[in-house]
Symmetry: C2
Subunit: 237 residues, 2 copies
């Protein structure tokens, strides 16, 4: 099951362990909108995303609004951070966005990997990165404007140290992107309009042309405590 | 060095390991405003907070605004999440708020604890919790109003399943609290004014009287995907 190696965390596993893991896994395809698991479920399976589909991770607020926590794509694993919790319970509902093929990894098989000191170490490093990444996103929601947050998302897709023009593609539709960025659709539209007016970028369908990376970073990154080019770890990062 | 046990993570260490760790540590007192370490420094020391002082963790945005990532108090450890990174580099500048006594834990001594499988496991559990906690804070910054975010902070201080009246104390001054909640001082004042008007709470100095916990949760928690009473892990949580 070569797909396991799409996850950087599994790429470094000794071959024998990878083989044992693969034997415990199976492939499965979900169609658009299908629920893989619900928030609050005991975590029995982790899902590694293959191919081009995506998985939306969301929760519902008490008053019924959907809060999108993340959108995972190829090589990313649903449940990874929860799998090492004391009582592994899915914090989010996982829903397929587009048809998506996944490797189903039994939680037990994943847990047994942690007996390997090197794997446990890699997992610690991953969670350490993840925590800081998440803190930076929290910072962004207080310190960046909505137009800057959208600009930041596009810059992380471009992820180029080069200057000049760049073209990127929204990895999912604008409705989901708005939700992922914590905006309602009207706020997102205003943010996109402002970003176009202020930095000259243009949008055609899902394709976005950034005429000048430097102009966009000057506009966006002033309100961030990080430096560009910055880390990215997937379509919803 | 009994103070080490203030950190839940160290509380479960076998006595011999705790003793070895204690021998590598030393006590130090910082005065208000003193910098313990700067963002970008290689992580050489972790600081466990003793007594009543606090440590502010912040970064500076490119345009010079301070972004407060956290405020840690008794039993919390500065650098804990970074200590297991591949290249442990302090993500934030750590500054004493009030005189604060700390236990300085050499990074090397901490790292050697990770050879113990049970400790590595506890550290994984801690980071797993931390990531979800941080994701919930990110959600709050998009889905809660500023008045709700302040109400949420007060509820976590109250942390009571009881109904009726409760009194809590701001753990630090309003300027720092505003920054910790990602608000400028004027926004914070408006949020506090609105919260008083909408839920009847009253403030005298650092003391806050919540006349009706249920009224405050009804006001605050509708826009959150969690449930009250919720987890808290320190004065800046």
């Amino acid at each position: 099951m070569a797909g396991l190696c799409l996850a950087p965390l599994f790429g470094a596993l000794p071959e024998a362990r990878l083989k044992t893991l693969a034997q415990a896994c199976r492939l499965k395809t979900y169609s658009h909108g299908e629920v893989l698991g619900h928030a609050g479920d005991a975590l029995e399976t982790l899902w590694l995303v293959l191919g081009m589909g995506l998985i939306k991770l969301s929760r519902e607020t008490a008053d019924g609004t959907e809060a999108v926590w993340d959108v995972l794509g190829q090589g990313e694993i649903v449940g990874l951070e929860t799998a090492v919790a004391k009582t592994p319970t899915a914090p989010t509902t996982a829903v397929a966005v587009g048809p998506v093929e996944v490797i189903c990894i039994p939680h037990e098989a994943f847990s047994s990997l942690l007996e390997d000191g090197a794997f446990a170490r890699a997992m610690l490093e991953h969670l350490s990165d993840q925590t800081n990444r998440q803190r930076l996103e929290t910072e962004h929601r207080a310190h960046q404007t909505t137009a800057q947050r959208l600009g930041c998302f596009l810059l992380r897709l471009a992820h180029t140290p080069e200057e000049g023009e760049a073209t990127v593609r929204f990895p999912f539709d604008k409705g989901l992107l708005a939700a992922r960025l914590g905006m309602d659709p009207a706020t997102f539209s205003r943010a996109l309009g402002k970003l176009k007016a202020d930095t000259g970028l243009s949008v055609s369908g899902l394709s976005v042309t950034i005429p000048d990376i430097r102009r966009l970073t000057a506009y966006t990154c002033g309100s961030c405590s990080g430096t560009y080019p910055c880390l990215t770890d997937g379509p919803g990062a």
